[in-house]
């Protein structure tokens, strides 16, 4: 137990790295996905096909293979990055496709009638959007966005392969240097599990705050 607890400082640092990389990538990815979806709606004829190809490529291949292309492959054509940079870039690029799909489904799920009814009562288009359609879209999207963030955190483990000092890399480091196996890996599992549970809980609270009447699953 003592050896278990003594690992906490190193793992605490590692958690921070994991979180920094994941949350940054998720944020950029969410933003990118949102913009991508908005652009697709605005310029359907130009962007419909490229969008579908992009989503197909990103969702049809493992994240690991995308990461190694960015980190090992791009230098061949002159684009070099640090391991951390490569991770954030590739993870953002990867998650943007998923976020874009979430926004696409969220947008399609808003019943058109609500906005129309509001405008029939003389509420301006923007006010209607802000108070009727947007909250519904957000309430719909929150669990999916939170879930995607959790997926990003889990995928970040792959970055250990290119020696980013996040959780998995740290655990492997400790194992190979101290020849203890159980404590570091147990700690690894616990850390990830806590991270994912916290995000899931945070999402539930956020949902209740934003749309109290809507039932969470």
């Amino acid at each position: 137990m003592n050896s278990f607890l003594s690992l906490i400082p190193r793992f605490a640092d590692a958690i921070l790295v994991t979180l920094e990389v994941s949350l940054l990538a998720a944020f950029i990815g969410a933003l990118g996905g949102f913009v991508l979806n908005a652009l697709r709606l605005r310029f359907p004829r130009w962007l419909a096909a490229p969008y579908r190809v992009y989503v197909w490529l990103v969702r049809g291949t493992p994240y690991l293979s995308q990461l190694v292309i960015v980190y090992f492959g791009l230098p061949v054509i002159g684009i070099t990055m640090t391991a951390v940079q490569a991770t954030i870039v590739s993870l953002a690029f990867y998650s943007a496709a998923y976020f874009a799909e979430i926004f696409r489904a969220g947008w399609a799920s808003i019943p058109r009638g609500h906005g129309e009814a509001a405008r029939a009562f003389g509420i301006s288009r923007w006010a209607a959007f802000r108070s009727i359609e947007m909250p519904q879209a957000i309430a719909f999207a929150i669990p999916l966005l939170a879930n995607q963030t959790i997926l990003v955190i889990k995928e970040s483990a792959v970055a250990s392969i290119i020696t980013v000092p996040e959780l998995t890399m740290t655990a492997s480091d400790i194992v190979s240097s101290t020849y203890t196996y159980i404590a570091p890996y147990a700690m690894l599992i616990v850390c990830y599990w806590l991270l994912t549970q916290c995000i899931a809980l945070a999402a539930q609270w956020a949902q209740v705050l934003i749309a109290p009447s809507r039932k969470t699953s």
Binding site: L64, S65, V76
Partner: protein, 220 residues
């Protein structure tokens, strides 16, 4: 970059990548199959009247869905060897992937089981079908038909998740890519080609899934 040379090199990579792809495929197939039966078992545990079994099932699902596959595989590979029992990489990979997908499949299949009206089970009971017969002949065929799209989706996820077994010394598609790129010093070509293999596999699975879906929809 000379196109004919590029093509020649890519053709040169093909045999080994193909070998790797085959390893990826049968590893994924084993995981899907084991995960199916294990998933049913876990669902039945979660639906059982025993508080202990139901909680154990919930903990299992929460752990395997709440942590990365890579971390799980490292545990299955290194912890036994640390305890003096060296497990071959493929075995750890198969076990790890199976247990991982079982957690997801238990949720997918569970939804299917819950959609079957209780009356059909009562009819099975009345006519003295054993619990196993009712499961196999009445429930499972309907569960599969109901959850096929989600199951195909999960199969695709397993193929993608399997890429990380390259870390525990399994010569799958990803590892072949790593080997080839270190030998050829052409990581961009090699890794892109490997990615194309994955893309081909997932796309074929996707198409097959939609084809089966259409056939099942016509029958029911």
């Amino acid at each position: 970059m000379n196109p004919p040379d590029l093509l020649a090199r890519c053709l040169g990579y093909l045999p080994q990548l193909l070998d790797g792809a085959i390893t990826t495929l049968w590893l994924s197939a084993i995981a899907v199959a084991c995960g199916f039966f294990a998933g049913i078992f876990i669902y039945m545990m979660s639906a059982s009247k025993s508080r202990m079994l139901a909680t154990a099932a919930r903990v299992y699902v929460s752990l395997f869905r709440g942590t990365p596959v890579l971390a799980q595989l490292l545990v299955f590979y290194y912890v036994p060897s640390g305890l003096g029992w060296a497990i071959p990489g493929v075995v750890a990979a198969a076990v790890g992937l199976s247990m991982n997908t079982a957690a997801y499949q238990s949720q997918i299949l569970g939804a299917g089981f819950r959609a079957i009206p209780r009356g059909q089970i009562e009819a099975a009971q009345t006519f003295n079908l054993t619990r196993r017969q009712a499961l196999w002949h009445v429930e499972i065929p309907q569960v599969i038909a109901l959850t096929l799209p989600a199951l195909v989706s999960e199969m695709i996820d397993i193929v993608k998740a399997s890429a990380v077994v390259s870390v525990i010394a399994v010569t799958d598609l990803m590892r072949v890519g790593q080997q080839l790129s270190s030998v050829s010093y052409r990581p961009l070509e090699v890794y892109t080609l490997a990615a194309c293999f994955y893309l081909a596999i997932t796309s074929l699975l996707s198409l097959a899934g939609r084809g089966i879906e259409r056939r099942v929809a016509r029958r029911t």
